[in-house]
Symmetry: C2
Subunit: 597 residues, 2 copies
């Protein structure tokens, strides 16, 4: 049976030693997040994830969710108890508004807890995860009345939230939405239509479910500018704000999915359900994107989480499984064979995952922290810098970390040989669960187009120029640290490849946007590599400083330097291939007639 | 529901126009394979695969195999009828010895039919596929009596075959085998032990099952030199050679697997079962490797097959699904949106699969044909060249084509967005089925070690030098064809990277074998890229010649040139990254202590 141990030591090292979380103690929200508090939060949530969420992960996969004839949905055994423990611990509202019962901590702290929870049990963690997204959208766009009515219950986890975008004929292209909203005359609307792929759309975990639904008000303009956002509760609220009359929304069926079996993915039928407008008429998409951006970061975190838990189990197996002898001679001559972790190809595989995970965790924390600082700061420059970086890196975190995170679950599974293919070992579940993260909240190709088509050129390329400036400043500033040189040189080479790619787009994609489209995915991965390489340079700098001062766990610092070296030697050179692909342009991509595929 | 169309046109183009299959008509076996016969074989097998095997692929996945309390195993509904059609058509013995009822055609033809069958229904095709491996081992190593007793029935498909290597504590490291064989004094042995992961170990398709089993004769030397190969039938043969008394071998349980649910993967218990020695005592491993090499090629073919069927369905979806508009303006303004095949990132994804599939098919046919020619030829040089190339490329075909083939099923699934994650569409089955091919018959890391540790240096590097010579000859010979230049230049660059990598191993891995181990997987993929690049150069040459002469389907030839261009511009440059990883050596890989992972 697989197991999971939350990487608390690594998180704290990154947060404090590398990223200097405590430098922002003067900002609102951060004041309550003293090191003591953060450590306690991490350790407590780690314990909950390891001991309560993880043990029902595989059983939840095997059992799955079931829908009864009346449309009710039962989650797997043990899910309700685990969900209650998570909600009762106050984990859902960790970074939510204290006025509505939240704890007001920086989002960065919530991101950490989400990593642990998703690693322990991705299907289960999605229920509170979606609620957090819905809380964010309502907090920013809901009227005071809506906020009063819904937020306290959602923050407490008494009710969960969902997001309803997709319809049978439209996913990415939300301008095609057909779900209809007709005013009732009393401020409410009758919502009619079918939504598909609704995660946590129906379940037995809570007494109410709060659906956020995109629909078109009768007579609204066509396309994306005619879409509004509504809140549609499963049970309408009575005079006391408690769940009252059943609303006309129901789960028509459950999807049979490749993975995340413990999460109910529903077809939701809205049959004249009563809904209330969130924000302005026809401004539903921007409001939903608040939720979506939060969700995209959350999905990137899922990619890391599955990569981490798969890695941990592969390492345990590689230390335990005896097969063959080390090339340099038997390491455990008393045993019939050596553990397979002696074999270079096994080590290479495991290191490639480890080197990714630690930098990906740093990247998520760094981006999240910049966002928090921007949010909390009074300084307009801080705000802009935070927004810019979040905008630029959200598609990278979503697209790259889920792509590579999935590949890593496959690599970790591979370490088990035939046992990795057998369900009892739990490794193939990580692969199946991780797979969805590349698809939902905008398939990764859509992330790449968002990056290249919108984020890259926005405000004259301000965001990426700021990133270059920061990296160049780091390289310059630390050029004197001898042992950091290999990291800085590799980073310099990678950022040069990135700049060449950006320049190539500037020169070739203005006239012919297909040149950007054909290179978008490669560019997203190229930017991801540079960002991860930058994280490794910063980690290495800190580890070297700790070594020099004799602080911290010496073996851990040495391990970080070795792992970082592996990354810059073996993973980072991929930037050259990505640049070559981008520079090839769109000619061959566009030339083939559709019928010749 | 997914569908499948066997790529007969592409196969014939590669076989005749690119590889000149008919040049070998003077060789035994080839004489019977006139173009008319081959075309008929391909078309007939295509029809069977499309119309009989494919329709029970998804239902077989959903239903899976079931084991009853008495140890009997039931295959999914429709499998027996489909198997019977395959066996009755004579497809199992296509390249088997005519003395035992085979058709004696070149193995290349059987490889083609196996591609089609594996694409249509991988789980089902494994039953005859394993039989073919067992036929090969018995043909080469069995006594006349054993051959007379078993081959005609196996070739006819009346009985199936299995290979029994793995035990709970040993997979790759077969020296650890514990299954015991004790002589009965009458020429037979009592076999006792437990084998796991036995594909097709028990089922209801045929009246008998012929197990080939590795075991250790009492008193045999330890390790790999004390292992013998036995034939153990499920039912012992009576005086007439018909299945008689039940042998003491039974299926203890079925594995719950990620995929290939229609194939019964059994734990097999040998409780003093009666077996007969195949070949010499203690020479079981070399005999089993006959079967294994055949099986490894077969597994590479499965990788291509899943990549091809996933691609075909992704193309169909991309032409049908309307979402968004082309960057250059609406392509189908009358419809609510354009089909997604207008989007550059969708085309790039599909082309990357197509460009791989066509070259992988060429590589399998080329290697197979060299093997056939070597086998059939009287010329010692032909024989050696065929053996060398088969030895060198078998791990590449197994390792690279299953790695990339799996990635391709994931890419194809991605084209469907959320629908790709839903079982009904069938795409996630291709991913789950393709996944096993990276694992069984020697995990791909083991293939890489076989390549780098054994095949590369064998006979002073004769095999790879012959490959370089062939490629260099091709480049030189065709340097005058103007439109072929980009292909030749890209191929030259790639082969130079390969040579640098080989040289790096020569200089650094003699003293420190970990330097080879740490670079083995990258080297396998580097060699794969060069081989595929060489195939594209050959395909392009042929397509250009056809264009010039006005022969063949002009649109198909143009499509080949475009697809090939995509490959050399976008896929082949990866050789640089592979070389960089290899040249980084083993230092960082070996430095981390096991406890620091």
């Amino acid at each position: 049976m697989p197991s999971y141990k939350a990487p608390v030591e690594d998180t704290l090292f990154l947060l404090y030693d590398v990223l200097g979380f405590d430098r922002h103690a003067n900002l609102p929200g951060f004041a309550d997040a003293s090191r003591d508090v953060v450590e306690a939060v991490l350790l407590e949530s780690a314990k909950l994830c390891e001991e309560v969420l993880q043990p029902v992960n595989r059983s939840g996969d095997v059992e799955g969710c079931t829908r009864s004839a009346d449309g009710s949905v039962t989650t797997p055994k043990g899910f309700k108890a685990a969900y209650d423990a998570f909600a009762d611990g106050g984990w859902i509202g960790l970074s939510a508004d204290p006025d509505y019962g939240g704890q007001g901590l920086p989002h960065t702290i919530a991101a950490i807890v989400n990593e642990y929870a998703s690693a322990a049990n991705m299907a289960l963690a999605m229920y509170p995860g979606l609620t957090q997204g819905a809380i964010a959208a309502l907090t920013l766009h809901g009227s005071d009345a809506l906020k009063q009515a819904y937020l306290p219950k959602m923050i407490a986890g008494t009710w969960t939230g969902t997001m309803n975008l997709t319809e049978p004929h439209c996913g990415t292209d939300l301008g095609l939405i057909k779900t209809k909203a007709v005013p009732n005359g009393d401020g409410s609307y009758r919502i009619t239509g079918t939504k598909i792929f609704i995660s946590a759309g129906e379940h037995d975990l809570t007494e109410n479910i709060v659906h956020l639904v995109l629909a078109r008000i009768e007579g609204a303009p066509e396309g994306t500018k005619g879409i509004s956002l509504f809140v549609v509760p499963k049970f309408k609220l009575d005079a006391d704000g408690a769940p009252g009359e059943r609303n006309a929304v129901s789960c028509g069926s459950l999807e049979h999915k490749m993975g995340i079996h413990g999460n109910a993915t529903c077809v939701m039928n809205y049959d004249g359900a009563t809904g209330w407008l969130v924000g302005e008429e026809n401004r539903g998409l921007p409001a939903m994107f608040t939720m979506m951006n939060e969700a995209r970061l959350g999905v990137g975190i899922q990619g890391l989480a599955q990569s981490e838990v798969a890695y941990q189990n592969a390492v345990a197996y590689a230390k335990d499984r005896l097969q063959g002898r080390a090339l340099s001679g038997a390491k455990e001559p008393a045993k019939p064979a050596d553990p397979i972790i002696v074999h270079p190809d096994v080590r290479r595989t495991l290191l490639s995952i480890k080197a990714f995970n630690e930098a990906a965790r740093a990247l998520i924390l760094w981006t999240s922290l910049k966002g928090d600082v921007g949010h909390a700061s009074e300084d307009a420059k801080d705000k802009q810098a935070g927004d810019d970086l979040m905008g630029l890196l959200t598609p990278v975190i979503k697209g790259v970390i889920t792509d590579v995170g999935f590949d890593n679950t496959v690599k970790a599974q591979q370490m088990f040989g035939g046992h990795g293919y057998v369900a009892e070992w739990g490794m193939e579940q990580f692969v199946r669960d991780a797979r969805i993260a590349m698809i939902y909240e905008g398939a990764n190709g859509v992330q790449a187009m968002d990056l290249v088509g919108r984020k890259l050129g926005r405000d004259g390329g301000r965001a990426i120029m700021a990133l270059f400036k920061e990296i160049d400043g780091f390289i310059k500033e630390n050029g004197g640290i001898r042992d950091l040189k290999p990291f800085l040189e590799a980073l310099k080479k990678a950022r040069d490849d990135l700049q060449k790619a950006a320049t190539w787009f500037m020169m070739h994609a203005m006239r012919k946007p297909e040149n950007a489209g054909a290179g978008a995915t490669d560019f997203m991965h190229l930017l991801g590599l540079v960002a991860l390489g930058y994280m490794w340079a910063r980690i290495a700098k800190t580890a070297l400083a700790k070594q020099a001062s004799g602080e911290g766990d010496a073996a851990r610092m040495e391990a970080r330097l070795t792992t970082g070296r592996f990354f810059i030697e073996r993973s980072l050179p991929e930037t050259a291939t990505r640049l070559a692909a981008i520079s090839a342009g769109a000619d061959a991509v566009m030339a083939l007639p559709a019928e010749a595929f």
